[in-house]
Symmetry: C2
Subunit: 235 residues, 2 copies
Amino acid sequence: MHIFYEENLQNALVKLSPEESRHCTKVLRLKAGDEVGFTDGKGTFARARLVDVNAKSTTAAITHRELKPKRNFHLHMVVAPTKNIDRFEWFLEKATECGIEEVTPIICAQSERTVVKPERLKKIMLSAIKQSQRAWLPRLNDTVKFKDFINNYSSDTPSFIAHCDEGEKNPLRDAYNPGKDVMIMIGPEGDFSPEEVQLARDKGIQAISLGQNRLRTETAALVACVAVSFMNGEL
Amino acid sequence: MHIFYEENLQNALVKLSPEESRHCTKVLRLKAGDEVGFTDGKGTFARARLVDVNAKSTTAAITHRELKPKRNFHLHMVVAPTKNIDRFEWFLEKATECGIEEVTPIICAQSERTVVKPERLKKIMLSAIKQSQRAWLPRLNDTVKFKDFINNYSSDTPSFIAHCDEGEKNPLRDAYNPGKDVMIMIGPEGDFSPEEVQLARDKGIQAISLGQNRLRTETAALVACVAVSFMNGEL
């Protein structure tokens, strides 16, 4: 079943955008009577039948609507965008498929990329919730500098910073208790600077490791998401 | 520390290939006396100092050599290459970073891609072991048709097939016992056909699920790798 995104699913009829109408007819070759799904990214998942199909304006009638619960924990990933933006976008796509509630792109001392395009990132997340049939669109925060993030950070949520330097670190599996909200910070290609790690620790953010091997930024970030999902019984 | 791949690390001196020599001088700008690492992909990890650096032929002297143990389980992923080969290559890179012992590309009834270039895939795996400082290069088997794979498959290894259809399925977490070798099959964009799932089950391969959400082929394959690593205490 193909899933569409539509912000408003409260009415009985849903009108697809011109872009989605075209996709519906030209690519998917759907016809009146075919069943489709809708997500509003705010918890509602609906089934519908296409009633009027054409390349400019397609309409669907909702047959079933359900409110899907949020996960019983909130995963906030604070991740440095990669030099090659494809790698960050890939992380965002995969993390959205696997489940994530909030993302903050963070610019660090050793970041080689300092700009991201939020419109493009939001498109990727929308496409990923449709693909994976998720009802909740992750929240994408504004890109922020490490020091501004840390200076403003104050939370009772268990919070972790993963880095590759020596020093006291617990594995994520020991540091995180399932069922709890969690914030995890992942640094850029050059890693967090020792000063950044110290600033985070001064704020009560615990240093963690993600195993013996040196993972790329986007790999480490996704591994953390999957591990948190696994620990919460989702896989 | 930058890591190079070199098949033979038995001698005291290692001569880098012309390509790696060029990379060493032009991109990394390394100098005589700088420390580098080597992996032979067969368990040996070495530290060395560059003794003679130039763009055509660079030599390093090994200072320390260690044989890294294999993991105490063998993970064999049997994965359908994706229509967009980037996605399969991405899986291979990430799975190599996260740890995997063997990969078999498999062509299924609903596969949209039936050809892969093994040389290119091997390059990606080599690059990923260097990047993640792994001592073992995964084995890449020849691409094989689903029916040929299943007809020849006979193993005491716990073996699983992940699919999205209805039917009796256990979550991977319940199906797999940590410490054991494991083989996991992941289908193409159109999923395994019901007939393929049945053929696998007839061979004693258990059906598993990877959660409630519809994951892309490459996402499902990586999630399975990370879950197996996590269950074995690697994260």
